[in-house]
Chain length 383, copies 2
C-alpha cells in the first residue's frame, strides 16, 4: 500500500450538517451506510487509505447523531467542514449528495447550514416581501396561470395573456414547454405577451406581470433574460432540473437582470419519486431552490394529477420559509391539475403566503376567460 | 368552458420517438399512463380542452406502439414532432421527461432521434477516435485515475499526478470533489498538476493528460476551462447533474476550449436508482451524455461499492456507441471501487474501447505508486 501524506489542512472548525434518512435491513447496515457517506461525500477513499491527521479528523464527514425511525429506516446527521463546499452551490450539493445519489436507500432530508456558509449565497433577490411589493399585493395570496397549449402562435398566446391579466391574474407565465420553437419563437412571443399584459395594466391601472420561460441553452439564457426584461417582462420562469441550479443562481445574482424568478420542477421529479432515495421535497423545492435564488417554487399540489401527498406539499411550504440566515423566504406555488373548487382547502393549508398556479382549470368555469379569472381572483381575495 | 382557437401549426412531419417503460397494476392503467404522457409532455392541458386540428393531430404526443413486458410493466413508444424540441437540448429533454419525471412508474428507456433533429447537435468534439488520437493510443483500453483525497494541497496532488503519469496512466483527473476550495485552490492546483504531468511526459516521451474538474458556478465554468487549457490541461472533468447538461454542451461546442470532456455521474444517481421511475442507464449515461458533448462517461462499475448491475453497465457501453447520425461514439469509463484484479473480467465485458477508472485501488498493489501504475498499465496493455 502506498502512503498518502498526512498534511495539516487549515480549516475554521465551522461545519454544516445534512440530515439523511437511511433505509436498511437493520441497524448495523444503516450504521455502515452512515460511515460510508462520511467517506464517499468527501475523500472518496477506502477508510484504510485515509491518512491520519486533519484529513481523517476534519475533512471526513462526521456522524453527529444516529437514531432509528422505524423498523427499516434510520436518521443520521452528518457534518462536513464548511470549506469542503468551496462556498459555492455546485460543490456544496456535491458534498451533500453527489456520489450518495447513486446508492439506494439514502435520502437527503434537510440541510442545516451555518451563517458562515450561508453568507456566500445571495439567495432570492425578491423573496416573499419583494415579490409582494413588485406586484402591489401586500397581503393576499397571489394568482398565477400558464400560457398554453404548446402549438399556439405568439399572437394567440398574447391574447390569452391579455385576458388573464385583465381578469386579475398576477403572474401570467409561459407554460414550461414554450421554448424557442418555430411555431412560437421566443423573441416574438415575449414581445407580444409582455405588451399584452402591459395593455391590460393600462386598462386596469393594476400591475400584473408576464414571466417568459428562459430555460434553454446555457449560452443564451442570460441573453434571453435581458431581452425579456427590455421587452417588459416582469419575471422569469426557469427549470433548474433542465438548465441547472447554478445557471439560475447566476440569473438571480445578475444585477442587469434583476427580475423575480419562479422555478418549475420539470426533470427534477426523479429525486422525490422514490421513497428511500433522493432528496426530500422540503430540501429540493424549499431550501435548495432558495439557495439557488428562486423567488417562488412551483410544485404539483396534492390531489391533482401528480402524486405528492398533502404532507409533502406542507413540507415544501415549510422549506420555503424555514430560517436560513439572510436568505429570504420565498413563495410556494402549488399547481398541477388544480381546480377553482380547491382554493378554500388550499388556503387552509398554505395560508395567504402562497401563489396559486392554475392552468387548464381556469378554462372550465365558463366560456369567458376574463370572467373566469375574475372569479378566481374573487375566490382568493375575499378570504 | 372557454374555446382555445384551432390554429394551423407549420410542421415538417418529422417526429422523434421515446421508448418508455410503464409500471402499472394492469394494462388499462398503463394505457392511461401512455395517453397521459402524450398530453403532459406537450400541451399540458386536459384532453377535452385541446383544440382540434394541428395541435391535437400533430403537437400532442402520439402512441406508436404499446406492449406488455411482464405482469406489471409495459413498453410504449411515443412520438413527438421534432419542432416541439426547439432543436436544443434542454427543451428536447423537457419533452422527453419534464413533467413525467414527477410521476411514479414512468421510465425513459431510449431516445430514437431522426437525423433532422440530431443535426442540431454537434455532440462530442473528440469521441472515441478523437480521444485515442489525442492520447496516441490507437487500440488499447485507456487508463484513468483520480487525484485524491480531498484535503491534500496542490503540491501533494501534483506529486501524485506526476507519479501516475510517469507510471502510464493516460488520464489523471481531479477527483470530482476537488473544486475551488481554500485548501486546494483551483488555479494553483491546475497549474501544478498540469505541470507535473508535463514533466512526466518530458521524461517518458509519452502523452498523458491532466483533467481538472471544472464543475462550478455557471459564470465561472468557461473561464475555468480556458484557464485550464492555457495551463496545459489535456481535458476537463464535468458533472452535468450538478452543473447542467446545457453548460457541458456549451463547453464542448466552444472552439476556444477544444478539450475532451469526461462526465462524472455525481447527483444524477436518483434518475437510475428507482426501478420504475427515472431514466435508463443506457439513455442517461450513454445517449444523453453524447448529445450534451461528453467524450467519455464515468459510471460506477458493477460489483464495486455501488449498485449497478452487469446488465446496467453493459447497456451504458451500448449507449455510448449506438448509432446516432453524426454524433460520435464515446468511451464508457467504469469506475468506483474497482481493483486491478478485476481488469481481465472487465476487458471481457467492455472490450478495448473502454477507459478503466481506478482510484483507491491503485494504492493497494504495493508501496510504490509509480510501480502500481505500471502494473496496471501492463495488465491492460498486454491483453
Amino acid at each position: 500500500m502506498t502512503t498518502i501524506p498526512s498534511v495539516p489542512v487549515p480549516l475554521s472548525g465551522e461545519r454544516f450538517c445534512v440530515v439523511y434518512c437511511l433505509a436498511a435491513k437493520d441497524e448495523a447496515e444503516a450504521r455502515e451506510k452512515a460511515r460510508d457517506i462520511c467517506l464517499e461525500q468527501t475523500v472518496e477513499f477506502p477508510d484504510d487509505l485515509v491518512p491520519d491527521g486533519d484529513i481523517r479528523d476534519h475533512i471526513l464527514g462526521c456522524i453527529e447523531s444516529f437514531e432509528r425511525r422505524d423498523a427499516h429506516h434510520f436518521e443520521t446527521v452528518i457534518s462536513y467542514a464548511v470549506e469542503t463546499s468551496g462556498f459555492e452551490l455546485t460543490q456544496l450539493l456535491n458534498v451533500v449528495f453527489g456520489n450518495s445519489s447513486i446508492k439506494p436507500g439514502i435520502r437527503v432530508e434537510r440541510l442545516d447550514l451555518p451563517d458562515s456558509l450561508l453568507h456566500a449565497f445571495k439567495g432570492p433577490r425578491f423573496g416573499r416581501d419583494g415579490l409582494r411589493a413588485w406586484l402591489n399585493a401586500s397581503h393576499r395570496p397571489l394568482l398565477c396561470t400558464a400560457l398554453k397549449p404548446m402549438g399556439l402562435p405568439p399572437k394567440e398566446l398574447a391574447y390569452l395573456a391579455y385576458q388573464c391579466a385583465l381578469g386579475g391574474i398576477d403572474i401570467v407565465k409561459d407554460d414550461h414547454g414554450l421554448a424557442d420553437q418555430s411555431f412560437s419563437p421566443f423573441t416574438e412571443r415575449v414581445q407580444r405577451c409582455a405588451e399584452a399584459v402591459a395593455q391590460a395594466n393600462r386598462e386596469t391601472g393594476l400591475k400584473r406581470i408576464y414571466m417568459p420561460n428562459v430555460t434553454g441553452p446555457a449560452s443564451r439564457v442570460v441573453e434571453h433574460a435581458l431581452f425579456a426584461k427590455q421587452a417588459g417582462a416582469g419575471g422569469l420562469l426557469f427549470s433548474p432540473g433542465l438548465a441547472g441550479l447554478n445557471l439560475m443562481q447566476q440569473l438571480a445574482d445578475d444585477d442587469r437582470v434583476g427580475l423575480p424568478i419562479m422555478t418549475h420542477p420539470a426533470w427534477q421529479g426523479s429525486f422525490v419519486t422514490g421513497p428511500d432515495n433522493g432528496i426530500s421535497h422540503y430540501a429540493l423545492f424549499g431550501q435548495i431552490a432558495r439557495l439557488a435564488g428562486a423567488d417562488a417554487s412551483i410544485f404539483p399540489n396534492y390531489g391533482g394529477r401528480f402524486s405528492f401527498s398533502r404532507e409533502d406539499c406542507q413540507s415544501i411550504a415549510e422549506g420555503t420559509t424555514a430560517p436560513m440566515a439572510r436568505i429570504k423566504s420565498i413563495f410556494p406555488a402549488p399547481g398541477g391539475g388544480m381546480s377553482l373548487a380547491r382554493v378554500p382547502e388550499m388556503l387552509d393549508l398554505y395560508g395567504r403566503d402562497v401563489i396559486f398556479l392554475i392552468g387548464g382549470g381556469l378554462h372550465r368555469q365558463g366560456p369567458n376567460l376574463v370572467e373566469n379569472c375574475r372569479h378566481f381572483h374573487q375566490l382568493v381575495a375575499e378570504r
